[in-house]
């Protein structure tokens, strides 16, 4: 349902959301999130192009969030790498029912709408702030 790339992107964003003294190096994020380093660099490039992440080249450079963690929702991240395609028009090119969806596609789109709203309701900041036994980021107990 959600692609591997989406999973990687989310892990990376959560990782970036915990404020580091310096920008995160791609290799450090890869280690923390257990994402293949070479591939992660491609995913991060997508997030940069989407305007969610800021990158700084050169020594002392790395990756930082482009916006505050409280201003970035899970949906933002998902849409950056694999946009959720709502069904706005009949997938068959039937002119007979113009903008109205048939019962089948109305239900499919309804399911997509639920996903959107569920993913939009949480920001990165909330994920970290949430009180839980499990570690905030999906990581081991020690820093």
């Amino acid at each position: 349902m959600f692609s591997q790339t989406v999973e990687y992107a989310l892990r990376a964003m959560v990782c970036l959301a915990v404020p580091p003294p310096r920008p995160w190096k791609t290799s450090d994020i890869a280690e923390k999130t257990k994402v293949p380093p070479a591939y992660l660099s491609k995913v991060l490039q997508e997030l940069v192009r989407a305007g969610l992440v800021h990158s700084q080249r050169g020594a002392g450079g790395g990756m930082t969030l482009a916006r505050a963690a409280a201003e970035i929702t899970i949906l933002d991240v998902v849409n950056a790498v694999e946009p959720i395609q709502r069904i706005t028009t009949c997938p068959l090119d039937l002119k007979s029912h113009g903008v109205r969806l048939c019962p089948l596609h109305r239900r499919m789109d309804n399911a997509l709408a639920h996903v959107e709203s569920a993913l939009r309701s949480s920001t990165l900041a909330e994920l970290l702030a949430e009180p839980t036994m499990s570690t905030p980021l999906c990581e081991v107990d020690d820093a």
Copy 2:
């Protein structure tokens, strides 16, 4: 979000749900649903293997629903060709939090749970019975 194959499978199932005098031929379903005939035959094979469709070879043969349309949910069809993978355990292999999901994956799985329940709440029969201006099956006005 939903693959092309899922879309094709759903169209085919809705088509099969409208009771024909004789079994549906694959080529007829393909025409009705505007699905590439050669590929549709592969999708139908999956639905047969999943136990949702019954196939009969030879003259006068074709495809029929294996169960009543009222006993087949949209979720059944989706799961037959592209099973919805719930997140039951942390995608990272972190032993530190065993069965408990971190806040991120709890939310992702929650979204998946919503999709499941939305797709489970409608049967093929309901799709056809629903009063609507659009034609029941996503098709043109005339039979």
